[in-house]
Symmetry: C2
Amino acid sequence: MIIVNLDVMMAKRKMSLNTLSEKVGITLANLSILKNNKAKAIRFSTLDAICKALDCEIGDILEYRRED
Amino acid sequence: MIIVNLDVMMAKRKMSLNTLSEKVGITLANLSILKNNKAKAIRFSTLDAICKALDCEIGDILEYRRED
DNA sequence: TATGAAATTATCGTAAAACAATAAATATAT
DNA sequence: ATATATTTATTGTTTTACGATAATTTCATA
């Protein structure tokens, strides 16, 4: 299971969804969908922009969780 | 810049592209495209299957590289 | 408790890209 | 030289991102 977790880094950077969406260059609505694990895929360009905006690694944002 | 690096984990697990494609459930051709950084996005279902097949973390496979 | 900002959710449409299937070309090892 | 592994190419289908927009919900705070 892949989990999207933007909350931690957003809190760390004190960045709102609104600001992040502007920096990343996708709409607030779509970023919210991604943030709430409703997306089924992601473009590398988007992932890149997020890592850049939050100044973090992919592992900070995406997590692979084994199921039991 | 997002970099896909499957080589290291494949070597570590001694797994061929062929075997990996079977485990992941996508064709050899498409997995090769992904492995050689020709893909522009990825489905979480695929990423999940790769992590499972190689028993590794996302960070082992995807890298965000800052440009200078 | 009323107000406003922030975030979520929904809908519709378009464009992008994954991915299948297949085949051909290339590389690599034995 | 031959088998095996990998890459590349092509065409078609399907999935999904993402935009634009608007309505709804959440939540802080005045």
